[in-house]
């Protein structure tokens, strides 16, 4: 199940590995995304730490990790074609994967219904 942060990131844990990305709402607010910078594999990140950068035509946005963990994988696909973050931010254009995510970090996040209410 996807969970959502107040900073408009999503996280989904499957078999102990968490996948992180930006939400549909986030991409809609940003407009055309033209550049993505992702963390190094192996980096340990804390919850709420700025770990990536997404740039639209007009703005530079920090991406805050919705949970602590170690970066095990990054997605080169939106780096090569940042417009994928506009077309499929919650699918093919995920940003990075984390291992060692604690349940405690996930408890403070929103489910889809709560996130939708938060955005409106």
């Amino acid at each position: 199940m996807k969970l959502y942060s107040t900073d408009h990131e999503w996280i989904e844990v499957v078999d102990g590995i968490a996948t992180v990305g930006i939400t549909q709402h986030a991409q809609d607010q940003l407009g055309d995304i033209v550049y993505v910078e992702l963390p190094e594999i192996g980096r340990s990140v804390t919850q709420g730490e700025s770990v990536a950068t997404v740039e639209s035509t007009k703005s530079v946005s920090d991406i805050y990790s919705p949970a602590a963990g170690e970066v095990t994988e990054i997605n080169d696909s939106p780096v090569a074609d940042p417009s994928q973050l506009n077309s499929d931010p919650e699918g093919a254009a995920w940003l990075y994967r984390l291992s060692g995510v604690s349940d405690a970090d996930l408890e403070g996040l929103m489910d889809a219904a709560a996130y939708e209410t938060f955005c409106n």
């Binding site: 910078e37 920090d62 506009n86």
Partner: protein, 393 residues
């Protein structure tokens, strides 16, 4: 996620923004609005900034620029010479030489030769003894107050807030506009870059100039506010024309190497530093009867302390305003700074411009470094514009 500079994201937090006469029209077309110079303006429509940008370069886009300031300068003796002489006290261009039916780009200067604002001045054939002045939205209050305080006796400034301004920009702007203008179409096709004329569009008398700020051929149209919906409706009914927002206006003008007030030019930068020496005609270089003439003359003969240049980042990361520039990857000596930067939709890569020390540029092989998020990124010094202008000369 937190956006540092997205006006659209911030718009909900800004109260008491001014609306242009097209505000409801923008909302009805799903525009994403944002605060700009105290106005609630369309930043982008549904297709998005990049699509709007490409549409402008390949077809025609309609921009609402009604937030800009419009005023007229008249003389009590009703001669153009008196009007021209008065305005020449503020600007370094040759106003007196401006023929009826033409406009000119110039700058209002302060006593130190810094730019209070950049302006378009127009002289119409219908009323050749007065000038129309268009200033930037964020500067109009300052510009018009400055003129009012310092204009010589025998002249008067009349602000025209009831005039709405739209820009129709792109290679098919003429095709669309001629179709709307019907019998006045011949007047439009005869116009060259920086010509001005009065025509009728769907029964409404409008002032038109063949200019804009996209680098494309196009027109700026001054319309009485009460009639703006009629005219804009007729223009956007043309198959070539789609509305575009301020986001695309900014990416277009940066590709075209056109200065943005507050970014690339301000009260400290001179027209010479900004590469605008072409807008100072010969007579003014010898009469020197404008503010800051001592500095301008010295810069014209000896060179300026800094020069605005194009910057092409070597990598994929955009380099944006305020980024410091260095001669190499390690030294601490700042040699300039970026004033505008972003992504070029036409070139598919980042572009920027900024001020650099001219001595460094002259001695360098063309690669300098911008600091972005603590890293030094290589950028190539490039001539402006990035995308050639396609004005109808």
């Amino acid at each position: 996620m937190s956006a540092s500079a997205d006006a659209a994201v911030e718009s909900g937090e800004v109260a008491a923004l001014v609306h242009t006469p097209l505000h409801a029209w923008h909302l009805a077309r799903g525009a994403r609005m944002g605060a700009f110079a105290g106005y609630d303006m369309p930043i982008r429509y549904e297709p998005g900034t990049i699509a709007e940008h490409h549409h402008t370069r390949t077809s025609a886009s309609l921009f609402d620029v009604s937030h800009m300031g419009v005023a007229e300068l008249h003389a009590d003796d009703d001669t153009f010479h008196t009007v021209a002489e008065a305005l020449e006290l503020f600007v370094p261009c040759d106003v007196d030489l401006l023929p009826p039916g033409r406009q000119r780009y110039t700058q209002m200067l302060n006593a130190k030769g810094g730019i209070i604002d950049d302006l378009m001045i127009s002289r119409s054939r219908d009323q050749p003894n007065m000038l129309t002045i268009v200033s930037n939205a964020g500067r109009k209050a300052i510009v018009f107050e400055h003129l009012r305080q310092h204009l010589p006796a025998g002249t008067r400034l009349i602000q025209r807030p009831e005039v709405a301004l739209v820009a129709l920009q792109g290679p098919l702007a003429e095709t669309a506009l001629v179709r709307v203008a019907r019998s006045d179409g011949d007047t439009l096709t005869a116009m060259r870059f920086m010509d001005v004329a009065t025509v009728h569009l769907v029964g409404v008398q409008v002032g038109i100039s063949r200019s804009g700020y996209s680098g494309e051929d196009g027109f700026e149209i001054a319309i009485p506010s009460d009639d703006v919906l009629t005219v804009v409706g007729a223009l956007t009914a043309q198959p070539e024309v789609k509305p575009a927002g301020l986001g695309a206006r900014d990416t277009l003008r940066l590709e075209a190497g056109l200065c943005l007030y507050g970014n690339d030019i301000d009260e400290t930068t001179s027209p010479i530093e900004a590469g605008l020496a072409w807008s100072i005609q010969k007579r003014r270089r010898s009469d020197l009867g404008f503010p800051g003439a001592t500095r301008i003359a010295a810069e014209l003969s000896d060179g300026a302390a800094q020069r605005l240049v194009g910057l092409s980042p070597v990598g994929k990361a955009p380099v944006r305003e305020h980024a410091p520039l260095y001669a190499d990857a390690t030294s601490d000596r700042v040699i300039g700074h970026v004033t505008s930067g972003g992504f070029s939709p036409t070139l598919g890569r980042p572009i920027a411009c900024g001020y650099v020390d001219p001595d460094v540029v002259a001695n360098d092989e063309g690669i300098i470094y911008a600091e972005v998020r603590g890293s030094r990124l290589a950028v190539a010094i490039t001539s402006l514009p990035f995308v050639p202008h396609t004005y109808k000369r």
